[in-house]
Symmetry: C2
Subunit: 223 residues, 2 copies
Amino acid sequence: MQTPTYIFTDDFSGFEEVFKAAPHRRVSFEKGDSLWASGQPFSPIYYILSGTAMTCIHHEEGRRKILSFHGRGTVFPVYHANQFKIERSIVTQALEEVEALEFTGAQFRGMMQENFSFTDAVIDWYASYVNLLLYETAHQEYNSALLKLCNLLYLLSDKKGGPDDRQIHLSQEELADVLAVNRVNLSRHLSRLRQEGIISTGRKQIQVLRPDLLADFCSSETV
Amino acid sequence: MQTPTYIFTDDFSGFEEVFKAAPHRRVSFEKGDSLWASGQPFSPIYYILSGTAMTCIHHEEGRRKILSFHGRGTVFPVYHANQFKIERSIVTQALEEVEALEFTGAQFRGMMQENFSFTDAVIDWYASYVNLLLYETAHQEYNSALLKLCNLLYLLSDKKGGPDDRQIHLSQEELADVLAVNRVNLSRHLSRLRQEGIISTGRKQIQVLRPDLLADFCSSETV
DNA sequence: CGACTCATTGACGTAGCTCAAGGTATGTGG
DNA sequence: CCACATACCTTGAGCTACGTCAATGAGTCG
């Protein structure tokens, strides 16, 4: 039974050879580059070979909401036929150097038509994205800022790895922009968790010292 | 360029004959019935022949979030292979008598594999649902309760119809549960709009008198 | 070393939540 | 058709979590 993920990776890496064999354009982006011009509905589709990109939506009042992160072996945006107004506000930026293969919608659709297990992967991707968004809209929305934060830290920290792997390399501003809470308020809740010995904080990094105690703070929809 | 929709209808009605020809079970639900037992991840898929159903998520603290409405000619839930934890909290209820055709995931996947234009419809459905959820997570989240309400009224009211069609037959509690705001607070904002002559309210119904003035209150992501 | 960006802490305002009481349609059974 | 119950709606008063503004501190980099 799956919990939400903010970080997409390797959900298409089984098709890397298919991507390389299909007609495409090879592209690379420097840190900070946008994958497409902002203000436009998106049209190309990227399969990421290496690097990480971050997708966010800019609100007309000047805020931004960070939606998800896309690493190697995944695709963004995923194929769809219709254009939506909100796409114009969506921006995907490289957080580090990104190497990718670029496809048109028609090329991508052709690959789905030829290979139905590829279509399965597309459906899986959509289902995961819907799951993340449902979690945010229908669950996190009702939680206090502290609970939201604990849930996010829990989901972002790598439960499998050792203590050194349980680091989250995001600034407080970025965390605040994922949760749609105020940066100052977020800082206060982080100090609380720091005082309780659950995390330690540094510049652009948070380490989860006690995942067990953190889990106690989280909602049952999360752990 | 599409704006979000809360009410899904007729996005699969072009395939009604395909549904009827495929192996299925015919089912009907009385007003108030759930389409599947609550607390379970869902497994059957329904094509709705008539009636309307409402999907909501129950939060562990006792609140509920109304997600979407599903009328004739649409499908819910749409096919996916993985199971997600949050599905256990999702309930879809008949708002009136619902006649539907029930399919298993395997049957549904078979139909997608046989008929690629059916797969196109599934992708369109997912894209619309993601669009709605992005709108809620990344746009409405940052709006004040009044702006949220105006946006919702605008999206729910039938812009094509005449004055009598611009009625919304939902209780204030249901509207509040769509917007994740307090019922009392919602009532106050409705009185404001009533005082401005934009809407008239009654028991379980709101009529939009001046769609033009309402649009002025809405955000640009909505109109 | 200076100029960033990032993080912390305090003081204060307010939108929205909660509790509570009362009002008004709608439906039902006698 | 009326009495009563029930759901739905309205309005008031007070609280609080979060947002905003502002000033200061603490890493990092050229």
